[in-house]
């Protein structure tokens, strides 16, 4: 059989199916709803297991909690004789319902069994002891990310957190095992853990299991990723200004956290869940307020955006043209005053992306337009006066994620009083290289005259690459100082597509570094992006899949973020920090 005969034969066989009409979109939407329900159930199970694991650690921890230190700590380094890795590793099972193998994460616990406090620093060594065939399974120590330079990628030196352990206190590290799709060559393996600064090796087993099930399951083509040690509990910092801003919309003026504050200074996030808005503390998962839609309106909340103070939010409601309300939280994250209607024109639909400026005085809306040659518009509404300005492009295109910068908030850029609005632009008028040259993340000076959307500066072109990663327009975040942009990037195509959050210079458009470890793009729809950044962009919080990282300059610290990552049903503004 010749090639062309085979092609014709296959085409004749499959053409009737190819030409058959597709089922109604309702079929796909119904399937997506069922899928989200399954994922919500999986998320609930995950939270329950994680809470159980956390409770296990906290209950058994010494009364004096471990603390995290920045820079040199005047406590002697732990000696190998006073460190003990616990032989039982808690399995933090995701409980996810996936067609693909879900990675398993083991929580490794290292205890200070000595009589004096000591400091611990670095990664525990993890190795496969048996069977011999699995000793070649690669182990990655995963806080070395890549800094992209002109000459390619070079390792970025990352300093792990230094943990001070009082007598009896524990530090933890995670070991995550990935599994291949076909799960070939898998079996129970013996793993060993050697604490940092120690030569004592401990064989580990899974807790609460018996027989061979106690041994971790590993496949020949698995990889094991190990985190550095971090404290079993981290006390919250309290460096947010004591007085919460509570201005009315007519005089909105919020203050940003202190320059040295980390993400703990912004503890609250608001999430749209069902018809309500839920305020939670990302550090503990505690719900501090449940906000119902305004009375008298057959409405539901459809989106939320936050100001830079972490206390002022704008909520959108309703089917049809949205109405917007201001929510101001107390210092404890409670709602102690009613929602205030905002003077925003009724032009935005329920899925319209919007962003609140850092001082809470302006709301930017990306207004989609209908028609084959339509171009999306950006409208900025002053919440002080109710006046609105609109920017549009002469050519068709689509506007994606919005993020505000307020360069005046950065001491080094106090000269730049103009607000900047970052937005994603996808040029639909052209295809190929010419479209990519105009498409990308652009920075609009909203105080400059004119109404041309493309008068904005192209900061990061759509063609930007970091290694195999390509940029997306999904939820970019510009640091309030306007110097750093965080972008979600994915590798594609390929079986093992991966996602990561990458920081770029807003001045040069050059990548500065990868701030989250590469995470499998599993199709599970988990969140990947930067959640919060300080004015300088040096300190940030980012999450990708199951991994959350606090960035402080060159220091990367794994963080537990109590954040429901799977609720995409409320559109692009389903949560705000």
């Amino acid at each position: 059989m010749r090639d062309d005969q085979l092609r014709e034969g296959l085409a004749a066989w499959l053409a009737p199916v190819q030409q058959a009409p597709a089922p109604d979109m309702l079929v796909i939407r119904r399937r997506l709803r069922r899928r989200r329900a399954r994922q919500a159930a999986a998320g609930t199970a995950l939270c329950a297991v994680a809470a159980g694991a956390a409770a296990l650690i906290h209950v058994s921890a010494a009364p004096e909690p471990a603390i995290i230190g920045h820079g040199p700590v005047a406590v002697p380094a732990c000696r190998g004789s006073q460190l003990r890795a616990e032989p039982e590793a808690v399995l933090v099972r995701s409980g996810a319902l996936s067609m693909e193998p879900v990675p398993l994460t083991y929580l490794l616990r290292i205890q200070n069994t000595g009589r004096t406090a000591c400091s611990l620093h670095g990664w525990p060594k993890v190795a496969v002891v048996a069977p011999p065939a699995m000793r070649a399974v690669p182990v990655r120590y995963a806080t070395v990310s890549m800094r992209a330079t002109k000459s390619g990628e070079v390792p970025r030196v990352v300093e792990p957190a230094q943990v001070v352990l009082s007598p009896g206190a524990r530090a933890v590290a995670t070991a995550t095992v990935t599994y291949p799709l076909d799960e070939v060559g898998c079996g129970n393996a013996v793993l060993s853990v050697t604490p940092p600064q120690s030569g004592r090796r401990t064989l580990i087993r899974r807790s609460q299991l018996s027989g061979t099930q106690r041994l971790p399951l590993i496949c020949g083509s698995s990889t094991i990723t190990v985190s550095p040690v971090y404290p079993a509990s981290v006390p919250p910092t309290r460096n947010y200004p004591a007085a919460a801003p509570r201005q009315s919309p007519a005089s909105v003026s919020t203050s940003a956290p202190a320059a040295h504050a980390g993400p703990q200074a912004a503890p609250f996030f608001v999430e749209i869940r069902g018809s309500k808005a839920i305020v939670s503390d990302w550090r503990t998962g505690r719900v501090t307020a449940v906000i119902p839609p305004p009375a008298g309106a057959s409405q539901r909340f459809t989106g939320v955006a936050g100001a830079g103070d972490d206390r002022t939010f704008v909520l959108a409601t309703g089917a049809g043209p949205s109405r917007f309300y201001q929510l101001v939280l107390s210092q404890q994250g409670a709602q102690d005053q009613p929602l205030t209607p905002l003077p925003v024109p009724a032009v935005a639909g329920s899925g319209t992306p919007f962003a609140l400026s850092d001082d809470g005085s302006e709301l930017a809306l990306a207004l989609p337009q209908r028609g084959a040659t339509a171009t999306d518009e950006i409208m900025v509404v002053s919440l002080v006066t109710g006046s609105a300005r609109t920017w549009r492009s002469p050519d068709p295109g689509m506007v994606y994620g919005l993020s505000w910068a307020d360069p005046g908030s950065s001491p080094s850029r106090a000269w730049a009083a103009h607000d900047r609005l970052l937005f994603g632009w996808n040029d639909t008028a052209r295809t190929g290289q010419s479209a990519r040259r105009r498409s990308g993340l652009r920075l609009l000076d909203t105080t400059a005259p004119g109404s041309g959307l493309l008068a904005s500066r192209l900061v990061i072109p759509a063609s930007a690459r970091v290694g195999a990663l390509r940029m997306t327009f999904s939820s970019p975040l510009i640091a309030p100082g306007g110097t750093v942009v965080f972008v979600t990037m994915v590798s594609h195509p390929g079986v093992n597509a991966q996602a990561a959050v990458v920081e770029f210079s807003a001045d040069t458009g050059r990548p500065l570094g990868v701030v989250t470890p590469l995470t499998g793009e599993s199709g599970m729809g988990t969140w990947c992006g930067a959640l919060w950044a300080d004015p300088s962009g040096r300190r940030a919080l980012a999450a990708c899949g199951m991994i959350a990282v606090e960035v402080n300059g060159t220091r990367f610290t794994p963080q537990t973020v109590h954040f429901a990552t799977r609720n995409f049903s409320a559109g692009p503004n389903f949560f705000a920090w």
């Binding site: 190819q18 796909i28 693909e100 689509m398 199709g523």
Partner: protein
Amino acid sequence: MTRSAEFEGFYQASYGRIVALLLGVLGDRQEAEDAAQEAFARALARWPRLSAYDVPEAWVRQVALRLAVDSGRRLRRNLRLSARLKGARHAPPVEPGDRIAFGDLGGALMRLPLREREVLVLHYFADMTAERIAAERGLPPGTVKARLVAGRRRLERELAAEPREARDAR
């Protein structure tokens, strides 16, 4: 154009191609449609990101093929398929549009190992080069070419041999 309308246009344009591709790999229309619809549902969940891709259909094809070759479903499907091939004489009548007739080529293709069937359909039906298949499936190009050659040889042998049903019937 709204994003919803944009996705619907993409879905209408590419659904048939994806289902036909999966049918060529699986030989079962219901399973093919199931995997395709699941892949499009996942694409809908992440359309704002996917729409920025050069070829969103490549992502859907990836996910659909992954779903199709998922180990559990593959085992179940192969068992069902082998039972159907062996018991073809006693199989219930196929309803129009439910399952397509295999014919000589389809029947021979279904007797190939899944990995060879997959690259043959991608190459000869979807017109993908070996390099592109390798990139999308995460395989070395040499492996794809080897599977293509082996698949062609095996397919010719199957086509030249008498139908298995007839052989089994004797």
